[in-house]
């Protein structure tokens, strides 16, 4: 025990723990410089480069995703616009077709009407003409028959054309007068 104390005292005199022995300082600095050299000159620049690359890769990815999104958005808008335009066009075409159809029908109808009226008018004219022809033929025939009949009855020849005509006309006028009075009565 005593010897230990003496030893400690002696040690304390010689080896103050707060006074660094220079060989240990030198070794300590060498050890530190070794580590510092490797880390500062090679290893940390290495990892910094990679960290930077990683950061860029991540940010680049985000940028790419954003670009893709904006493109998708614009494509969608374009598509929507096209769709709306197509719908509009279709509606317009339908409208046009309807209008054209209606116009066509109206035209056809008008044409039909016109043709019908033409046909009717032509029919009427024909009938009128026929009637006139029939009337004039009838008049001649009736005149002739009546004259013959009258000639046979009277016994005298009514060859005189002027007289004959006069008689016939008088007769026919009477007939006409009868007919018109009959018509008026009706």
């Amino acid at each position: 025990m005593n010897s230990a104390l003496v030893f400690l005292a002696a040690e304390g005199e010689k080896e103050n723990p707060l006074i660094p022995p220079w060989p240990e300082v030198v070794i300590g600095l060498i050890a530190f410089v070794i580590v510092f050299g490797f880390l500062a000159k090679k290893l940390l620049p290495n990892i910094n480069k990679v960290l930077e690359e990683r950061r860029e890769a991540i940010e680049g990815g985000i940028e790419k995703a954003e670009a893709a999104q904006t493109e998708a958005q614009s494509v969608l808008e374009q598509y929507k616009a096209q769709l709306a335009e197509a719908r509009h066009e279709a509606a317009r075409l339908r409208q046009e077709a309807q209008e054209q159809g209606a116009a066509l029908i109206a035209e056809m109808r008008a044409e039909g009407q016109r043709q019908r009226e033409e046909i009717i008018a032509a029919g009427h004219a024909q009938i009128e003409a026929d009637r006139k022809a029939a009337a004039s033929a009838l008049r001649q025939d009736v005149g002739k028959l009546a004259t013959e009949l009258a000639g046979k009855l009277v016994g005298e020849s009514l060859q005189d054309h002027a007289r004959q005509s006069r008689v016939i006309d008088r007769f026919l006028d009477e007939l006409d007068g009868k007919a018109s009075t009959a018509e008026a009565a009706r």
Binding site: P20, E24, G28, L29, F32, F36, F38, A40, I47
Partner: protein
């Protein structure tokens, strides 16, 4: 030195309680090592266990970061991920926090190296067989603190010029009025003389005390291993385990504190004079 040159352990192995031998308490002698080569008595160079551990520690750190960062990948592997998180913790959590990204970028390698170097040197404390914190020898923290001190002084000169340097280290502030000379004297003393000393001693003393505590409980566990003392030895052994876990924590904290203070000093040097 006292010890028998053949002795490798920190205490007598054949000494137990009730055997008539005293408790081989740990002390300053626990931090002195017979040189493995050379002679510590003279002024010549020598080589001892802490030196070996210091160099070995450097090799381990470089090896670790070499394995992780020599061929780094954008998509990291496990080792690279671990190393990256450690690197990022110091870079972002310490350097950028105190110095900012723009000013701090230059000092990242130094701070990162300091942290992992000190941590490794501390870790030797609980690594089996080594079991000695290199930083509990004042020479190692003193060397590191000296690097930081030189950097700080030269930076302050470069930033502020000769007059600015003195204004900076003395905390020159006209609004103090009459006490200005006193304040300047105290600041000058505190910044320029005491600061590097406390910077080194803070780390040294923590590791020194931690190692002493570990030694105390380890030696006691062995020393009490006789008769009824076995019960006490159990308690001591549990304490050894608890202290080992505690030391693991303290080692990281002290390395962190050292680099955080370094950053604070650099920040003071870079700061505009107020």
């Amino acid at each position: 030195m006292s010890a028998d040159p053949t002795q490798v352990l920190a205490f007598e192995t054949d000494c137990h309680i009730f055997d008539g031998c005293g408790f081989p308490a740990p002390g300053l002698h626990s931090f002195l090592f017979e040189p493995l080569a050379g002679n510590a008595d003279g002024n010549g160079f020598y080589f001892n266990k802490p030196m070996l551990l210091a160099l070995l520690g450097s090799v381990i750190i470089v090896g670790f970061f070499w394995a992780a960062f020599a061929r780094p990948k954008v998509v990291p592997g496990k080792l690279q991920m671990i190393a990256e998180s450690g690197y990022d913790f110091i870079r972002r959590g310490v350097v950028y926090e105190t110095l900012g990204k723009r000013e701090g970028e230059k000092y990242v390698p130094l701070i990162v190296t300091l942290f992992f170097f000190i941590w490794m040197m501390n870790l030797w404390s609980i690594i089996p067989v080594a079991q000695f914190p290199v930083t509990s020898i004042i020479a190692y923290p003193a060397g590191l603190a000296a690097i930081v001190y030189i950097l700080w002084v030269s930076l302050t000169f470069k930033r502020h010029g000769f007059v600015g340097f003195f204004k900076n280290v003395t905390g020159y502030d006209k609004s103090l009025g009459a006490v200005l000379p006193l304040a300047m004297l105290i600041e000058f003393f505190s910044n320029l003389i005491v600061r590097p000393f406390t910077h080194a001693v803070r780390l040294f003393a923590n590791m020194f005390a931690g190692h002493t505590l570990l030694l105390l409980f380890t030696i006691a566990s062995w020393y009490l291993l006789n008769g009824i003392g076995i019960a006490y030895a159990g308690v001591s052994f549990v304490m050894t385990i608890i202290m080992t876990a505690f030391e693991l924590f303290i080692q990281a904290v002290q390395a962190y504190v050292f680099v955080l203070l370094t950053c604070t000093y650099i920040q003071g040097a870079l700061a505009e004079h107020h």
